[in-house]
């Protein structure tokens, strides 16, 4: 199959609605392709998977996992994927890697290698280059996450960084987990100063470091309490046999259960439409809409059931 003739978006949508997990690679190939033909098919795909068509929000749990390089996200994800699989849940991981400004190229998978059984069709892992900005989400990642949430029980979006990346991930994910390691004081500072948004779940890795990890957990607890946040803080170790993974899964599930999902997904679709519009039309397009805040205000007035493609077309019409 050549990328020149993209697959039919509606066809892929019905595969996903039938929970055919094998459709995932083709879905990703489609949403990453930026030709006009492919973009039209992506719109069709998303329209066919909109809450209006589904009669409900896509059932999958979209989880953002973000944190600075070297905190052990890959090991953590290896453990999480294994634990979800032993609960019988299917998992898709969208790993977003930074790309080289100079060449446009990127090295993917280097840090995101997640242990998996290649024969297990219920685990899908795809890495994508971040696009122009460090920690920024590739436009395709948003589309992929919302589409895959129709078929997979869990969709993870993994990004690198602290301070900005979790803001973008929060636009897409139902639940955002920020991963830190013991002794990383900058996270405390970022939280207190508001540089970093308050995450839904905070994960402290390397619990095997003992007292250091306990200390980090209590510091973060104290900081979050003083900010009035209800964030749960979970300490994990990815060294075998692994500890804290069940507690983390419980924390993620509890957050999702307590969440007003339609409201969060609505916000996500609006952010998605705007991000896609900006990716296509740039700052000039944004100015034609009267700036970012004005565009957001206008989006908030649109009917809640509108799908991403229609929202984006409406933005384009407005910018004319």
């Amino acid at each position: 199959m050549s990328d020149a003739s993209p697959p039919d978006g509606r066809g892929l949508a019905s595969q996903l609605r039938a929970r055919e997990l094998g459709a995932a690679p083709a879905v990703l190939n489609l949403v990453e392709t930026r030709t006009p033909l492919a973009r039209e098919q992506t719109r069709q795909l998303l329209a066919a998977l909109s809450p209006a068509e589904l009669g409900a929000e896509a059932p999958g749990h979209i989880v953002g996992v973000t944190g600075p390089p070297g905190v052990g996200k890959s090991s953590l994800l290896s453990r999480l994927v294994a634990a979800w699989r032993s609960d019988g849940r299917s998992v898709a991981v969208l790993a977003v890697d930074p790309s080289s400004r100079r060449s446009g190229g990127s090295l993917l998978g280097d840090r995101a290698r997640i242990d998996r059984d290649p024969g297990d069709g219920a685990v899908f892992i795809r890495s994508t280059a971040a696009g122009e900005r460090l920690g920024g989400l590739a436009p395709a990642t948003r589309a992929a996450a919302s589409a895959l949430a129709c078929a997979f029980d869990v969709v993870v979006i993994e990004t690198v960084g602290v301070g900005q990346s979790e803001t973008e991930v929060a636009d897409v994910a139902d639940t955002v987990a920020v991963v830190v390691q013991p002794g990383s004081g900058d996270v405390l500072q970022f939280l207190k100063s508001g540089i970093m948004e308050i995450p839904d779940v905070l994960v402290v890795t390397k619990a095997d470091l003992g007292p250091l990890a306990v200390r980090a957990q209590s510091d973060l607890h104290a900081a979050l309490r003083s900010l009035g946040a209800k964030t749960s803080v979970v300490t994990v170790s990815s060294l075998p046999p692994g500890t804290g993974i069940e507690a983390l899964i419980t924390a993620l599930d509890e957050h999702r259960t307590a969440l007003d999902l339609p409201a969060r997904r609505l916000r996500s679709r609006r952010a998605h439409a705007l991000a896609d519009f900006i990716a296509e039309h740039g700052e000039r397009g944004l100015r034609a809409l009267g700036g970012r805040r004005e565009a957001q205000r206008w989006l908030a007035e649109q009917a809640p059931g509108t799908d991403v493609g229609s929202l984006e077309r409406a933005l384009e019409a407005r910018a004319q």
Binding site: M1, S2, D3, A4, P6, A24, P25, L28, N29, E32, T33, R34, T35, A38, G70, S99, S100, R102, S103, G104, G105, S106, L107, L108, G109, D110, R111, R113, D115, P118, G119, F124, I125, R126, S127, A129, L239, P240
Partner: protein
């Protein structure tokens, strides 16, 4: 009358070895006995990759690798056959074994015991240096913490019970193979030695405070090095002198070693393979000879043991005749020349002194940087990126012609060589039957042993592994006696310690920019535009081969050329590669194999790709691949085969672009 410049008595030659072993224990034993007859004075055992990484011959990851780059040893029966009729109380045996060093040492001890030779009589070396496995060679099994413990345990055990054993060879050798400059080679290996010695000191002081100083001095005295020597042999010799200065200093200052003999810098050597070329391979004989001078010329830092590579290593596995040629080189140097008749011929040389000072100073600065990062274990990422970066720079200099490689990037016209004209192409081919024989043999071994003794030994091994202050050796020796296999020993430890993946170092490699790369980048942009998304390239290393330098350089260059590169590091199964290719939606796949197992693994990747429904993704292959095999691979559907002769990375990038364009029916020639 002036004083004679000669020694009163001619020096004894160094120990002469050949790195050898292939197929099974019986065939390797025959090879060793022939080599000893030819005047070789010690053994150097090459193990196959499954043995080195702790898998039995019937494990999935062992496929295609059994008996390939060395001998397959799964149990004490194999070890007994391997050493049959070799007098172990007199032999000095070097084993290139790292992650599973404690295990192979135990098998050696038990095999000797069976022959009535006590462990205290044994002489030899286990390589046992895990940090350089993370940095370069890739046959690690366990994470850094437990690996350092295994090393410390073998050191403490041998110093007390096998006193003539060198429990570890700190390897600077593989750092140079991975691209290290002389300064990096010195600094990283010294930092590595510090990490090992600190780990041992911690264990010794925790266990026995009374004699810890004395024991530490003996430990220091048992640490030897395994170094490299490149063709710039004057500087290489200076490097060894610099290492001996730093080693002496380290013993005195950091570890308080008062016994001068314990502070001697002792090393064995295998000279450089990185600089051996596939083009005009006969020239390699000269390179090897000159490199041998680097480690023998100056008496004060002369090698204790030497093994030389064969002239045709870049073509495939050397045959016994090729190895004999290298042994004869050593014998000519030691017995025909007057080399061994003089004291140190560089004593008093201003040039040599200044060179040594320059290298020592550079190495001290780099050692300080590693120390600042918390020592060698913590600095693996830093050192790995440094090596990838130096290697990239070396490659750039070869491509630009700044660095001359005779017969390769200069003086490359040649007459046909009679040496490679033979039917077998001038290399050893391991009988593919060996793998199935070995699979059957280990199954037979498991069915015939006392299973309850094995189970008991494994339970005890796991208990000791979990109990950090216990020494792993006694339980390991007991397991060897009970009939445990290599794979079982490793699996027991993996279940306690976990698995590990070393950093690839590619993420941090500096980007290259040249006119040519920038032209290629334009082509990638045009192709990506035409495809609708960025050209995506999977670089994969199937099997157990850990030689990742080539794959890393290709991954970095492809990124610099603007491609999205998926590189997941070493040791992937064909099924994992196929699954990644399908899930990642790549446009092209590049596979690298240097262990000679391409004939098994590549077809296996192709069939897994078909299984995953993505057989239309084109596959290119790079490695040490003889032409006959290359033709077979192309027939099987491989789009292109690259060998060390194809050293122009930019050309490879252009080929890949052309391949993807053609397969996707798009035209990316530059606009007129």
């Amino acid at each position: 009358m002036s004083k004679s410049p000669r020694l009163t008595e001619r020096d004894r030659p160094w120990m002469m070895r050949t790195y050898a072993g292939h197929s099974d224990a019986e065939r390797s034993n025959q090879l060793y006995r022939r080599n000893l007859e030819k005047g070789q004075t010690g053994l150097s055992i090459a193990f196959d990759l499954p043995t080195q990484t702790g898998y039995d011959p019937d494990h999935e990851l062992a496929r295609g690798e059994v008996g390939k780059v060395g001998v397959s040893i799964a149990d004490r029966g194999d070890m007994r056959t391997l050493l049959h009729d070799i007098p172990l109380d007199q032999m000095n045996t070097s084993m290139t074994i790292n992650a599973t060093a404690a295990w192979l040492l135990a098998l050696y001890i038990v095999a000797a015991e069976d022959e009535g030779v006590a462990q205290k009589q044994l002489q030899g070396t286990t390589q046992n240096d895990i940090l350089k496995e993370y940095l370069s060679r890739g046959t690690y099994a366990f994470p850094p913490g437990p690996s350092m413990r295994l090393i410390a345990d073998t050191i403490v055990y041998t110093v007390q019970h096998v006193p003539n054993w060198n429990p570890i060879n700190i390897c600077s050798y593989h750092l140079q193979e991975a691209g290290a400059t002389p300064v990096q080679e010195i600094a990283y290996s010294m930092s590595n030695a510090i990490a090992v010695l600190d780990a041992v000191r911690d264990r010794i002081t925790a266990a026995d405070e009374a004699h810890s100083d004395e024991l530490m001095s003996s430990v220091f005295g048992r640490i030897s090095f395994f170094v490299n020597a490149g063709v710039r042999f004057v500087e290489e010799h200076a490097k060894l002198r610099a290492m001996s200065v730093l080693w002496d200093e380290l013993g005195r200052e950091r570890y308080g070693v008062e016994n001068e003999k314990h502070r001697l810098f002792r090393y064995g050597v295998q000279v450089n393979s990185l600089g051996l070329t596939e083009a005009q391979p006969d020239n390699n004989v000269y390179r090897i000879a000159l490199e041998a001078l680097a480690v023998t010329l100056g008496r004060d830092v002369r090698a204790r043991a030497i093994q030389l590579p064969a002239w045709n290593e870049a073509l495939g596995l050397p045959r016994p005749w090729d190895q004999q040629w290298s042994l004869r080189l050593q014998q000519v140097l030691a017995y025909e020349t007057d080399l061994l008749e003089y004291p140190d011929i560089f004593a008093g040389s201003h040039v040599m002194e200044a060179l040594v000072a320059e290298l020592t100073e550079g190495a001290r600065a780099e050692m300080a940087r590693v120390a600042e990062l918390g020592g060698a274990v913590q600095a693996v990422d830093y050192m790995k990126s440094g090596l990838v970066e130096s290697h990239r720079e070396r490659w750039r200099r070869i491509e630009s012609g700044e660095l001359t490689v005779v017969g390769m990037n200069r003086f490359d016209s040649t007459e046909p060589s009679p040496l490679t004209a033979d039917a077998d192409g001038g290399i050893l081919v391991v009988d593919p039957k060996i793998e199935s024989e070995r699979r059957e043999a280990v199954k037979r071994w498991r069915s015939e042993r006392d299973q309850s003794a094995v189970d008991e030994a494994l339970v005890e091994l796991e208990r000791v592994a979990r109990h950090d202050t216990d020494n792993i050796m006694p339980a390991t020796i007991a397991a060897a006696r009970a009939g445990v296999t290599t794979g079982e020993w490793s699996q027991a430890l993996r279940s306690v310690f976990g698995e590990y993946r070393a950093p690839t170092g590619v993420g941090e490699a500096a980007a290259v920019s040249s006119e040519e790369v920038s032209e290629i980048r334009d082509e990638v942009e045009r192709l990506s535009e035409a495809l609708g998304r960025r050209l995506k390239f999977l670089v994969g290393k199937p099997g157990l081969d850990g030689h990742s330098n080539g794959a890393e350089q290709i991954a970095v260059r492809a990124r610099d050329a603007g491609m999205d590169v998926v590189y997941e590091g070493i040791r992937l199964t064909p099924a994992q590669i196929a699954s990644s290719a399908a899930q990642e939606g790549v446009h092209v796949i590049g596979l690298s194999i240097l262990s000679g197992s391409h004939a098994e693994l590549i077809p296996s990747v192709l069939s897994e790709l078909a299984e995953a429904g993505v057989e239309n993704i084109p596959v290119v292959v790079g490695g040490i691949i003889p032409e006959a095999d290359a033709a077979a691979l192309r027939d099987a559907g491989v789009a292109a085969v690259y060998t060390p002769r194809d050293w122009d990375l930019n050309q490879m990038m252009r080929d890949i672009i052309a391949l993807v364009s053609e397969r996707n029916g798009v035209d990316v020639s530059a606009p007129a």
